[in-house]
């Protein structure tokens, strides 16, 4: 499933980050690479963006970006 579908409060591991755009490159540089543990912390008031914890810090991203991240529990 994608990171967007991960329920709030759940932990998972990144399996792949798809696409080759600038944003994917940046996501990976921020530590979101296959094998990294992520936790879905919460979603913002209108359901977007989302906050995830990765490598011990909080990262906010839009669902648009989270859709390109595949995770497995």
């Amino acid at each position: 499933m994608t990171l967007t579908e991960l329920p709030v409060g759940q932990n998972a591991r990144v399996t792949s980050v798809n696409g080759n755009s600038v944003i994917v490159h940046r996501l990976m540089e921020m530590g979101v690479i296959p094998g990294a543990a992520v936790e879905m912390v919460k979603t913002a008031p209108f359901g977007d963006p989302i906050e995830v914890r990765v490598r011990g810090y909080s990262l906010a991203m839009r669902k648009n970006e989270a859709d390109s991240i595949e995770v497995s529990a």
Partner: protein, 656 residues
């Protein structure tokens, strides 16, 4: 680059946003500047002197960056400076890389990148006190060995590690820099991103060897606060509540010092009159200088409080949360959540706000943000709002405890925001259309604001405000006074009855001051534009003030202060500006200022482009004349139309 500069030792201070770079910079160089808990607040190059051993050096505080592969203009500058590719900058001899101990892995990513280029690096490890308080343990020597990079734990507050940092930097001058060569993994086909894998693998191994985390999560404190502050529903309610509270406090706390200042300037004017005796200079000092400068300076308490709250909101890390809460709305109008910071700084002043747009990656988004930034009510508008509210809406409240003033103030700020949203919506769908930008933003942990930073920021702002009052506003006040004082008519122009010739004494009595003012250069100009502004409910005196306010917004207050003083006839007592506004009469004897005309004036000020400095910055940041001219035209047209609708609409509803 010039020859003299190249002989100097240059040390670059690099690191992720929020790593504590600016605090370290301040403690190394003694120069004070703003430290905030928001990604990308360090937008400009900062330089300061430092001595390494005996040798004088210059430290450059670079904008925060996550990676050398920049995605924003801001990061690009930092990246180019580090790599020695930035044309206007000498290649740094040593890079001090600031690393936040509580966020090691991601912070070290940048370090590995720089080390791969063979640039001499020393790591300054910050936030180690926080890290240890969370019961984690770190073996700095081991980490240093693993990373093959010297590490110094520093604490900017008590100066720990600063001497050692200096020693290591010095030792790096003479050493041949080593290049960090990372083994490339073959496991997965990751294409271009294999380097990222290699770096993180290297970092993870090093961190695993040297750091022992306690299993309890340390970030829970921030998360607990966030559960309330970024709650799906209450988060937005709290955001509005915080802003309302800020404005209410600005009003209630500032009323006493403001009263004192007003009384002080009143006494100063009386004193000047007594000492100097009647004459032209006395009038200039009392009606021009003291009224003009004093009229603006009395708003110092408000300015101080505004910056106090802005500092606190930024330093705690709340601003990033506000961006998080509002991103969906921002994306609806086609803007980036990151546009929130520049827009919010524009509440202080549009100039730093516009410069802060450099953190926005996409050019179209950046320009759209620049074009709407001046709609945010800057601190120069504050005196105008406060004057109108204090004079016309004082003492009124809703439900007995929410003051009408605070609500009106919030409404003015809100009006600016709403118009900005609509403008951005239209701009992003017409001349600046493009796909929705990606959004990726760190939410830094909440931190207790540094008292010294907050106070320092307030002092800086107060000083800038007073300096401006003492130079530009002073000079403009004198010129305005002269324009209102001259020409002096001894006899009235034919046709008026104002002059009384006392035949017996055979002297010509001078015209009453109110007639003199009408006849002055400024008075004639005011009458000239009266047809344009009378549909807005303004009289010619307000017209004079409006024209003058295009030099700087707060000059409106000075001008009104001067014009009501100059136009005062002998028998009238001098009074504070607020009561002068209340008592001002039109030619037909009706009051000049009613709640409706006051509101109309405020609406005009929310929207009008009356700041030459902002236009100059827009010209430079967009590198074209088109954008500032367009900005000037559309904002001022909008202001006129909105003020017209307010006034005429208000009259239709039966207000005066």
């Amino acid at each position: 680059m010039n020859g003299a500069a190249s002989s100097q030792i240059i040390i670059a201070l690099a690191g992720n946003p929020n790593a504590g770079k600016t605090t370290l910079f301040n403690s190394l160089t003694g120069l004070r500047q703003k430290v905030a808990n928001y990604p990308g607040v360090t937008v400009e190059r900062k330089q300061g002197p430092w001595s390494v051993g005996e040798r004088p050096a210059q430290i450059i505080d670079l904008p925060g960056l996550y990676s050398l592969d920049a995605t924003s203009l801001d990061e690009q500058i930092a990246s180019e400076v580090i790599q020695g590719k930035y044309a206007a900058e000498q290649k740094p001899d040593v890079v001090i890389c600031v690393v936040d101990a509580t966020n090691l892995e991601r912070n070290l990513y940048l370090v590995t990148q720089i080390r791969e280029l063979g640039i001499p690096v020393v790591i300054a490890l910050t936030m180690i006190d926080v890290f240890e308080r969370q019961k984690h343990e770190i073996d700095v020597d081991s980490l240093s060995r693993q990373l093959r990079t010297p590490i110094v734990a520093v604490n900017a507050k008590d100066g720990r590690g600063i001497d050692e940092l200096e020693r290591i930097v010095e030792s790096l001058f003479d050493e041949k820099p080593s290049i960090l060569d990372l083994p490339m993994p073959e496991e997965v086909s990751v294409g271009d991103n294999s380097r990222i894998f290699a770096r993180y693998k290297f970092i993870s191994n090093a961190v695993q060897e040297s750091v022992r985390h306690n299993d309890q999560d340390s970030h829970r404190f921030s998360e607990k606060i966030d559960r309330v502050l970024t709650h799906r529903f209450f988060g937005l309610v709290i955001l509005v509540g915080i802003l309302l509270l800020v404005f209410q406090t600005i009003f209630s706390w500032s009323s006493v010092p403001m009263d004192l200042l007003e009384k002080g300037f009143g006494a100063a004017a009386d004193f000047a009159r007594d000492q100097l005796g009647p004459g032209m200079l006395t009038d200039l000092v009392a009606d021009g200088i003291i009224a003009g400068v004093g009229g603006v300076v009395v708003f110092l308490p408000q300015i101080l409080l505004l910056f106090f709250f802005i500092s606190i909101l930024e330093d705690t890390g709340y601003m990033a949360r506000a961006a998080f809460l509002l991103d969906k709305l921002m994306s609806r109008i086609g803007l980036h959540g990151k546009a929130f910071l520049p827009l919010f700084s524009s509440f202080a002043c549009a100039i730093p706000g516009i410069m802060a747009t450099r953190t926005i990656e996409n050019r179209r988004d950046r320009f759209a943000t620049i074009m709407i930034a001046p709609f945010m009510s800057c601190s120069a508008r504050l005196p105008v709002y406060t004057l109108m509210i204090a004079a016309l809406f004082a003492g009124q409240s809703f439900f007995g405890f929410i003051s009408v003033g605070a609500v009106l103030m919030l409404a003015m700020y809100a009006l600016g925001i709403v118009v900005a949203i609509v403008a951005a919506f239209i701009l992003k769908r017409t001349i600046l259309s493009g796909p929705p930008p990606p959004f990726l933003m760190e939410l830094p942990p909440y931190r207790v604001p540094n008292v010294r930073t907050v106070i320092q920021n307030m002092i800086t702002r107060a000083w800038l405000f007073l300096k401006r009052a003492g130079t530009v506003i002073l000079a403009i006040s004198i010129v305005l006074w002269a324009l209102m004082y001259f020409p002096r008519a001894e006899v009235s122009p034919a046709g008026t009855t104002a002059v009384v010739v006392d035949a017996q004494a055979n002297t010509v009595e001078p015209l009453p001051e109110s007639e003199q003012l009408k006849n002055s250069f400024a008075g004639r100009l005011g009458h000239l534009i009266e047809p344009v502004i009378s549909p807005l409910g303004f009289d010619w005196k307000t017209g004079v003030a409006l024209i003058a306010s295009f030099a700087a917004r707060e000059v409106l207050v000075s001008t009104l202060s001067i014009i009501y003083n100059v136009g005062k006839d002998e028998n009238e007592e001098s009074e504070s500006l607020i009561s002068a506004v209340r008592d001002a009469k039109r030619e037909d004897g009706k009051p000049t200022w009613t709640p409706l005309t006051g509101l109309t004036l405020m609406v005009f000020f929310v929207l009008a482009m009356q700041c030459m400095s902002t236009l100059a910055v827009v010209r430079r940041e967009t590198n074209s004349w088109r954008w500032p001219l367009f900005m000037m035209a559309y904002m001022t047209a909008l202001a006129y139309v909105a003020a017209l609708i307010t006034y005429q609409g208000g009259r239709l509803l039966g207000f005066e």
